[in-house]
Each structure stands twice: as C-alpha cells, then as structure tokens.
C-alpha cells in the first residue's frame, strides 16, 4: 500500500516536526474515537426512547380522535366550535439545551399554564368534552416529548456523521501518510550516512595512494 508522502525538505528538523505531528494526530484520534462512542451510545439511548414516545403519541392520538368525535357527535360541530374558541390559551413551551459531547441537544417542556379549571363553559358541555380535552392534553404532552427526542436524534446523527468522517480521515489518511513520510525520511538519512561513509573510505584510499 503506497501512501501519499507529505512533501517536506529532507532535514532533521522536518523529521522532528513530523514526529510531533504524528503523536498529536494519534492523541486527537483517540479523543475523536472516544467522542464517537459516547455519541453513539447517547444516540442509541435516545432512539430507544423515541420509539417509545412515538408509540405513546400514536396511542394517545387514537384515543383523542375517538373522544373528540364522540364529543362532536353529542354537541354538534357548531356548538363545539364555540367551546373550542373559549378553550384556546396562550400555550408555550420552555426550551433549554443539554450538552452531549459537544452537541447541543434541545430540551422542551410544556409550560403549564395556570388554568386550574377548564376554559370552556362547564355548565354548557358534557363529560364527552371533558374526556376529549383530557386526552388531547395527553396528546400535547406526547408531542412535546417526541419533538425533543426526535430533534435530538437528528442533531446527534449529524454530529456522529461528522465525527466519523474526522475519525476515518485521521485513521486512514493523515496518520498513515505521516508514518510513511517519517519512514521515508529515516531511510533517506540512513542512505545519506552510507554515502558519507563510502565517500570517506574512498578519500582515505586516495590519500593513502599519494
């Protein structure tokens, strides 16, 4: 396997520099590999949780649709629309971030609004609406949870790809070419030594002949 040699002047100084670069790259390689394994572990963990969260979401939506269709069947769409308008609140999520091996992954939390009682007209509506509202809130929680996990998964995945590229470049290109160049320089110096020796011998003979 022929490696790309780095073009340097064949001097001892360059050799020392190359050796330094090699040890640095090896250290970096170790760090990158560690980081990659941390990221991978985190990724798998989150992937497992995401699968669970997605399952929960699908389940709660099935329930919610059922409850809502019962409620709208009981009250009629128009009457329900009126309640819906009343039920709207300024819902928001609080976002933060968590740091996993240099990747910022988001953390979402539903800001619990201080609605102790339902906003819609309780006297005017049936238990079906209450049921629908409850299951919808569950949906909302599932959405927020899934959003956090899914985004984390995407961000981590991208970072894993990047880290992998760096690790591969170090392992298969940078380090071998450094090693090859160092090897080449060593051979060159040995060759130069031998040349020097023969030249000395030759000169000695020439002097002896005189």
């Amino acid at each position: 396997m022929s490696q790309q040699l780095i073009k340097v002047r064949p001097t001892k100084i360059e050799l020392v520099k190359l050796k330094r670069r090699l040890s640095l790259s090896q250290r970096v390689q170790k760090i990158v590999k560690d980081r990659l394994s941390i990221l991978t572990m985190e990724f798998l963990q989150i992937a497992r949780e995401t699968v669970k969260a997605r399952g929960k979401l699908v389940e709660s939506f099935a329930e919610s649709y059922k409850a809502l269709s019962l409620a709208s069947g009981y009250h009629g769409y128009i009457a329900l629309e009126k309640e819906l308008l009343a039920a709207e609140t300024d819902l928001s999520i609080i976002t933060g971030a968590r740091n996993v091996a240099g990747v910022r992954i988001p953390a979402f939390e539903l800001a619990k609004s201080e609605k102790a009682i339902q906003q819609y007209n309780l006297a005017d509506t049936s238990a079906w609406v209450d049921r629908a509202a409850q299951s919808s809130e569950k949906c909302l929680e599932a959405i927020v949870e899934l959003a956090e996990l899914q985004r984390s998964l995407e961000l981590l995945g991208k970072e894993i790809n990047r880290a992998k590229r760096i690790a591969n470049a170090l392992e298969y290109i940078t380090i071998p070419s450094l090693q090859a160049t160092i090897n080449f320089l060593n051979l060159k110096f040995e060759e130069r030594d031998r040349e020097e020796k023969t030249r000395l011998k030759r000169v000695k003979i020439l002097i002896g002949e005189r």
Partner: protein, 117 residues
C-alpha cells in the same frame, strides 16, 4: 448556561386535528381545507411558520409530508434546535405501523449499522 426561551407550538391541520389540540389549549393554528389548494396552503403555512423565530414545534399530520418534503428536509438539516416538525397520525390512522423499523432506517443512515431496539 444556555438561556431558556419560551416558544410556541403551532399546528397545521384539518378540522379533526385542530379540534382536539385547540381543546388542549393551542392558539396558533392553520386550518387547511380539504380542497384542491391544499398543497399550496400547506406549503404557505409551513414556510410562514419556519420563518418565524418564536415557533418551537410545528405539528402536522403525516399526510401533509408529501406536500412539503423539501421544506421539511431543509428544516431537519438545519443546525438550530428549533423549529421541530412533528408528524402526528391523522384521523385515518398512522402510516408508521412499524415504529422500530422506521427509526431503524434512521439509524442505518447515521450509524451505518442496525441495532435491535
């Protein structure tokens, strides 16, 4: 530490989806009528939401993914944490019956190998 932000949840969807989530308290919603402008309307609403800086989560039915694939993949490729587009099942059920399988493809794409979840 990283500053905390308060962001909104927005929903793009049909009557059924909106009905439930409005009952849960969502105020920001984009109703999509079931007519032949559906595709344009979905894309317009999504573009608008993505541009807004205070959108945290965009909820939309799985069926709409086909209408706006380029926008969704652009958002997914972005480096910022938000907005996040969450696809939820529509009234007729979910397209992802096989949830571990769905995330399995994800994993193969990023890790290069498959792990049983």
């Amino acid at each position: 530490m990283i500053p905390f932000k308060e962001l909104k949840i927005a929903v793009i969807g049909d009557e059924d989806l909106l009905g439930g989530l409005r009952l849960a308290g969502i105020r920001e919603y984009y109703p999509i009528a079931n007519d032949h402008d559906k595709r344009e309307n979905v894309r317009k609403a999504l573009e608008e939401l993505v541009k807004k800086s205070d959108t945290g989560i965009i909820v939309m039915p799985e069926d709409y993914l086909g209408y706006a694939e380029d926008i969704v993949s652009r958002v997914k490729k972005g480096n910022t944490a938000t907005p996040v587009i969450v696809e939820v099942p529509s009234k007729s059920g979910t397209a992802y019956q096989d949830i571990p399988g769905y995330y399995g493809t994800f994993m193969r794409k990023f890790l290069g190998f498959n792990v049983e979840l």
